[in-house]
């Protein structure tokens, strides 16, 4: 089938078709410069402040799901077949202020007002799922939005009060859901999309097989999943990423499958989409998951992207390596399976071949004692100083197996082999863990940087063994 030479999407209440789109074009610049929708603000252009938050609705299963997204690092090409909603389009039931907006006014929740449209959009997204949120839910919903003026207190009061101004079912956006979904479905033609401006091309493959074909033809291409990292290459690093191949829309890479032995997660599954399944299978990851970015990052970022970009400070590898996760790498029609920890060869170097891509992640469903810890300067929406995952099996009063991995301690996410060895066979007792922690000196030589000093990284890494004991000592004793 011939490819389509334009992207199509809905912007507020209008349909948009664009053919002259460069790989590097961002949604925010399109909104502000091309469409003069200036209610959406640029605060940081790196997905950390949330001033540019818009809602992006996309078809998911039978429904239409709206999520808060940072327009600054969302590439324009990737909103194909989505509904982009900006603050200008937010309306209440009577066409006036939206309930979130009314509550924000009533509770004096804006001062300078620059972060306000983004906060309004983040709360509007929250309200769709949780019309009467408690304080914890509001804090989580606002992890991706910075306000420098208010101290957040009045924003919290407003968020608690938004239910006073009507139910989400009365929102015009909600009332038009079916119609909007139909319009988006009508845009789907199953074709590969390729758009360009000048020499900069963006390709949206039709499906995973087509992705393999595109990459075979363009092995130099930049694969873009959630763009929460690649976005910054462009907005901060001014890098040219063309040809860029977008995969976030590929339904066959967005599957989550669970059977008795494995949890399988497609490469384009976002943190938000994976959250429920991860927490259900591995309850210890529930809290950890909430510390990955904020809602906007979790709505865009993917597990596959977090692994594939090979960062030493990604949150996913240290959590999944201890679980024995494997990744499926595909090139053309060929596939190979690799233990996750073997993917990371050296800083910036991963075991992936030209034209290849990470297709899925599979995690064995295991028992034993699990933990995942993230240590950062600020608790939420921060990059790890140290991240760690533990998976121990204890029986008959002794440690039978240990898989322990760290991020932030080496140029790549890495297992603590010396510490593991020091632990295996030892009696299940606090001194065993404290002793094993000392072996970290042989496993790691961390660096000092703006996130943490080397000595802090090592100290806290060792202390996490004690924390593990405090949390699991009794459970391990029962297992014994």
């Amino acid at each position: 089938m011939a490819q389509r030479g334009e992207i199509r999407f809905l912007l507020n209440d209008g349909a948009v078709a664009l053919d002259a789109v460069a790989a590097e074009d961002t949604l925010l610049d399109f909104l502000r410069i091309a469409r003069r929708l200036t209610g959406t603000k640029e605060g940081c252009a790196e997905g950390d402040c949330g001033a540019c938050t818009v809602l992006v609705g996309r078809l998911a299963g039978d429904g239409l799901r709206y999520e808060p997204v940072n327009a600054c690092i969302r590439f324009l090409a990737s909103v194909d077949r989505c509904h982009v909603v900006t603050v200008e389009h937010l309306r209440g039931a009577d066409g006036g202020l939206h309930p979130v907006q009314q509550a924000m006014v009533d509770h004096h929740a804006s001062q300078c007002g620059f972060c306000t449209p983004g906060i309004v959009m983040a709360l509007a997204a929250l309200r769709m799922d949780n019309p009467e949120p408690d304080a914890a839910a509001i804090d989580t919903a606002l992890q991706g939005n910075l306000c420098r003026c208010t101290g957040y207190a009045p924003i919290l009061r407003a968020a608690r009060a938004m239910a006073d101004h009507g139910s989400p079912g009365a929102d015009p956006l909600h009332l038009r859901r079916a119609e909007t979904a139909a319009r988006l479905r009508a845009m789907a033609d199953g074709r590969r999309v390729a758009v360009a401006r000048g020499a900069s091309q963006a390709i949206l493959p039709a499906d995973a097989d087509d992705l393999a074909a595109v990459l075979a033809a363009h092995p130099e291409a930049t694969i873009v999943a959630g763009a929460t990292d690649v976005g910054l290459w462009v907005t901060k690093g001014l890098r040219q990423i063309a040809p860029a191949v977008f995969i976030g829309h590929l339904d066959d890479l967005r599957r989550i499958e669970r059977d008795a032995d494995w949890l399988r997660i497609g490469a384009s599954v976002t943190y938000a989409e994976a959250g429920a399944a991860m927490a259900e299978t591995f309850p210890h990851l529930r809290r950890y998951w909430d510390r990955i970015g904020g809602p906007q990052v979790r709505a865009m970022g993917t597990l596959g992207g977090n692994i594939a970009n090979g960062s030493p400070i990604g949150d996913i590898p240290p959590a999944l390596i201890p679980l024995g996760a494997e990744i499926v790498l595909r090139a053309g029609d060929g596939r190979r399976v690799l233990p996750l920890e073997e993917f990371f060869i050296a800083y910036g170097k991963q075991d992936i071949r030209p034209g290849g891509f990470l297709e899925s992640i599979r995690i064995p469903v295991t028992g034993g004692l699990h933990a995942a810890y993230k240590i950062s300067k600020r608790r939420d929406e921060d990059i790890s100083a140290v991240a760690a995952g533990f998976h121990l099996e204890v029986s008959d009063g002794a440690v039978r197996s240990a898989r322990i991995a760290f991020g932030g301690m080496a140029p790549v996410p890495k297992r603590a082999r010396a510490a593991e060895a020091a632990l295996i066979g030892q009696p299940w007792a606090e001194p065993s863990l404290i002793g094993a922690a000392q072996a970290l000196d042989r496993d790691f030589t961390p660096i000092s940087d703006m996130r943490a000093s080397a000595v802090y990284r090592m100290t806290v890494a060792k202390n996490l063994f004690r924390r593990f004991w405090h949390e699991h000592g009794a459970a391990g004793a029962r297992a014994a």
């Binding site: 200008e88 979130v100 004096h108 804006s110 703006m450 202390n463 996490l464």
Partner: protein, 773 residues
């Protein structure tokens, strides 16, 4: 007599921010939202990549040849003065000509058809420099004998040295106090549009339009009247747009003038954070003598600050640090000295509190040290050292005449149940768990007025249109603090019309000239009074008119809610105004105000620099994890003094927001330069300001509703912008208590700020190691 009615939205009512609806709908325009005329160009700065060195060559050919580039501008293109020093010291070039003074210093600008093209072109410059040794931090500057960027100040009273020697107890310490980036959500921006006959208009996100005007004129060699600077609102300022936008305004104006096209300069967040000054970081060395009761006998302290490569506002900032190194405490004998040190870093600048918070941190550390030394509750030591009768003279010889701290603190101590909670925390910590808790109550006393006495003036312009609507303009700028709302409320009350009748217009140098920065918490004090003065003039004219027109005595004319009473008649305000217009009454007036009573002799360190003091106090409780150092503020209670509040909702917002911003400064906001002098925390991905989840889990904030300013300020209110930052010291002290618990409170942990999780953990580990050893 009709029923008593009052106007809507008068002074002292909790009106919403005048732009609240615009904020929440995204329809309130900021500078970057102004429609760009056809032909608008975009500029980008090229920054240095070394911290210190002689410029050998600047090869900009590739920049010029890049797609879309229209011009490249260097110092050679400046027709006027290549200086934007706000204090006239001539040490702050737009672009340096021979020496790079810090990593990230702007060296040139490129102007292109699009912002993206300008950014990409700027990266193509090839700058060759001969490196020179770079001094980056305060301690390095002290060790190297680095010069001051501006003359230091010493405040002295009594004989500190003799009193220290005579004191029953004496201790010394050093504290490192980190800086802070403003991280206003709207970054710096200037948009210059050429006008006729060599004039130009600059839209600029600035707290100080008159200074931006002056700098643009000075750089272009124009009289001030050729330059109009205008700002309707800023997306936050916090002091970061008091002088730091001058560079952007000057460069945009230079480009617009050279090219005769509109030029916008909006740096990205990285450039904004790298190339603009921050709150000064300090190293404080203190020596305190005290008696067995913990009463301070004498303090000798030196506060040394990293000022960066130029003076900027470092003189008054370091002065204000000394003015607040007493916080709320009486020092019988005292010597306080500043060192505004020159370093090869960006030139530090104003930041909410203007050095005052850094001084107050030192005072609280001194008191904390005494409490640890004597094994007392720090609050007890605080209360023993408050200013009081016979103990009411500051280190700068101003008497504290309005001290309400004892009452304020006593009320908060009771309402927060401080003593019982502290006892419970001591019990909790005694269990020896991994989690430890701390609680602390710290006070605030903050001096209000610019210490540059001539800054304490303001102008306003009030128009009554013939339909009865009112136009209000003044020299203050709106950065989110609610100034426009408050001044409009003052006018509403003065004219007795509903707030809805009043429209506040953009601050502009062609409306009210020669204004002061909106800074030093003074916005409402100064501009409110100036607007009130204009209203008085208008009312006097209207009374004279009515008296004449209806032949009644002047005192028979009264401004009642939305109407004017003339004898027994009541005339609706708009009808009355129409009559006045027909009778050719001038319905526009300027207002002016200058703060009374203040004077300051810097050479002798004596005077009355402050018209009055604002007070407050906070109790914070924290819980730390002694394995990772991570923590949570579990509860904060605040009682704050804003006099008779002009708008309690806005003032509450200033207190809540100031506290959290101060908490960020003292906890997670860490500025980190690498060994080459490169700032590595230059965006929110690496520089961590508080999030919603960082605010205290319980946050009880109240205004001291009984307080009235004893001075004749605008409707007896008090300034509110800066003082609440200082409330956040309670968090540091609470963290300190929690840390100290691991060594049974025998040792003051002497936490430096920001108290990151790393600092908490390393302090815990240090105390434990010392205990084991």
């Amino acid at each position: 007599m009709r029923a008593t009615v009052s106007i809507r939205g008068g002074a002292h009512t909790p009106e919403p921010h005048e732009s609240a609806v615009g904020h929440v709908t995204g329809s309130a325009p900021y500078t970057d939202d102004i429609p760009e005329p056809v032909g608008t160009l975009h500029a980008c700065l090229g920054l240095s990549e070394i911290a210190h060195g002689r410029i050998v060559s600047m090869d900009l050919d590739a920049v010029r040849a890049a797609p879309g580039v229209v011009a490249v501008l260097t110092a050679a293109d400046i027709p006027g003065a290549n200086d934007i020093s706000p204090t006239g010291l001539g040490d702050d070039p737009v672009f340096p000509t021979d020496t790079v003074a810090y990593h990230g210093q702007p060296l040139f600008a490129v102007v292109a058809e699009t912002r993206d093209q300008a950014r990409r072109a700027a990266a193509l410059a090839r700058i060759a420099c001969d490196p020179l040794p770079a001094i980056l931090g305060v301690e390095a500057a002290l060790d190297a004998g680095a010069p001051d960027v501006t003359p230091p100040l010493t405040l002295a009273r009594g004989d500190a040295e003799a009193a220290l020697q005579a004191a029953p107890h004496r201790l010394q310490g050093r504290m490192r106090i980190g800086g802070q980036d403003h991280m206003y959500l709207e970054g710096q921006i200037a948009f210059a549009i050429p006008g006729e006959d060599g004039t130009l208009t600059v839209h600029c996100s600035t707290q100080h339009p008159a200074e931006a005007q002056q700098m643009v004129a000075q750089v272009l060699g124009l009289p001030f009247n050729a330059v109009t600077v205008q700002v309707r609102r800023m997306g936050g300022g916090f002091g970061g747009k008091e002088t730091q936008m001058n560079l952007f305004a000057a460069v945009a104006a230079l480009a617009a003038t050279r090219l005769d096209r509109p030029v916008k300069l909006r740096p990205d967040r990285d450039q904004d954070m790298i190339a603009t000054g921050k709150r000064h970081d300090f190293v404080a060395d203190y020596d305190v003598g005290f008696d067995a009761e913990g009463r301070i006998q004498a303090v000798d302290a030196r506060l040394a600050a990293r000022c960066g490569f130029s003076a900027d506002l470092s003189g008054p900032v370091t002065d204000r640090a000394l003015f607040h190194a007493d916080n709320g405490y009486f020092y019988p004998h005292v010597r306080l000295a500043s060192r505004p040190l020159k370093t090869n870093t960006v030139s530090n600048t104003a930041f909410r509190g203007f050095g005052g918070p850094q001084g107050a941190v030192v005072a609280e550390r001194i008191v904390e040290e005494i409490a640890f030394a004597l094994g007392e509750d720090p609050l007890t030591i605080r209360q023993r050292n408050f200013y009081g009768p016979g103990r009411d003279v500051t280190p700068y010889h101003q008497r504290v005449e309005d001290n309400i701290l004892p009452r304020l603190v006593a009320e908060l101590e009771a309402s927060s149940d401080y003593r019982a909670r502290r006892a419970a925390i001591l019990d909790f910590n005694a269990q020896g768990g991994v989690a430890r808790r701390g609680i602390a109550l710290t006070p605030v006393k903050f001096g209000i007025s610019f210490t540059a006495t001539w800054y304490n003036q303001a102008g306003a312009l009030v128009h009554i249109y013939k339909d009865g609507s009112v136009g209000l303009n003044h020299g203050g700028t709106e950065m989110g603090q609610g100034l426009f709302t408050k001044v409009a409320q003052v006018v509403a009350s003065a004219l007795q019309v509903d707030l809805a009748r009043i429209r506040v217009t953009a601050t502009a140098t062609d409306k009210v000239p020669n204004t002061s920065a909106t800074a030093a918490s003074s916005g409402a004090d100064l501009n409110g009074m100036a607007a009130l003065d204009a209203c008085r003039k208008l009312k006097a004219r209207l009374v004279a008119f009515a008296s004449d027109r209806w032949d009644v005595a002047a005192d028979a004319v009264a401004f009642a809610p939305n109407e004017v009473r003339v004898g027994d008649a009541a005339i609706p305000f708009d009808a009355f105004v129409k009559e006045a217009y027909m009778a050719r009454v001038a319905l526009s007036a300027t207002g002016f105000y200058k703060t009374p009573k203040i004077h300051w002799d810097r050479a002798n360190g004596q005077g009355r620099p402050f018209y009055y003091f604002a007070y407050g106090a906070a109790v914070s409780e924290v819980e730390i994890d002694t394995l990772a150092g991570e923590y949570q503020v579990t509860r904060t209670d605040i009682l704050h003094d804003v006099g008779r509040s002009l708008n309690p909702a806005i003032d509450l917002g200033q207190v809540e927001g100031g506290f959290v911003q101060g908490m960020g400064w003292l906890t997670t906001e860490e500025l980190w330069w690498d060994a080459d002098g490169r700032l590595r925390t230059h965006a929110p991905s690496t520089y961590k300001i508080p999030l919603a989840s960082d605010r205290p889990r319980r946050f009880n904030v109240a205004l001291a509703d009984w307080s009235e300013n004893r001075e004749m300020t605008i409707r007896r209110s008090k300034a509110v912008g800066e003082p609440p930052i200082i409330l956040a010291i309670s968090v540091v002290e609470a963290l300190s208590m929690a840390v100290a618990s691991v060594a049974d409170y025998r040792v003051c942990p002497r936490l430096d700020t920001p108290v990151t999780p790393e600092r908490v953990l390393m302090a815990v580990e240090g105390l434990r190691a010392a205990g084991d050893g």
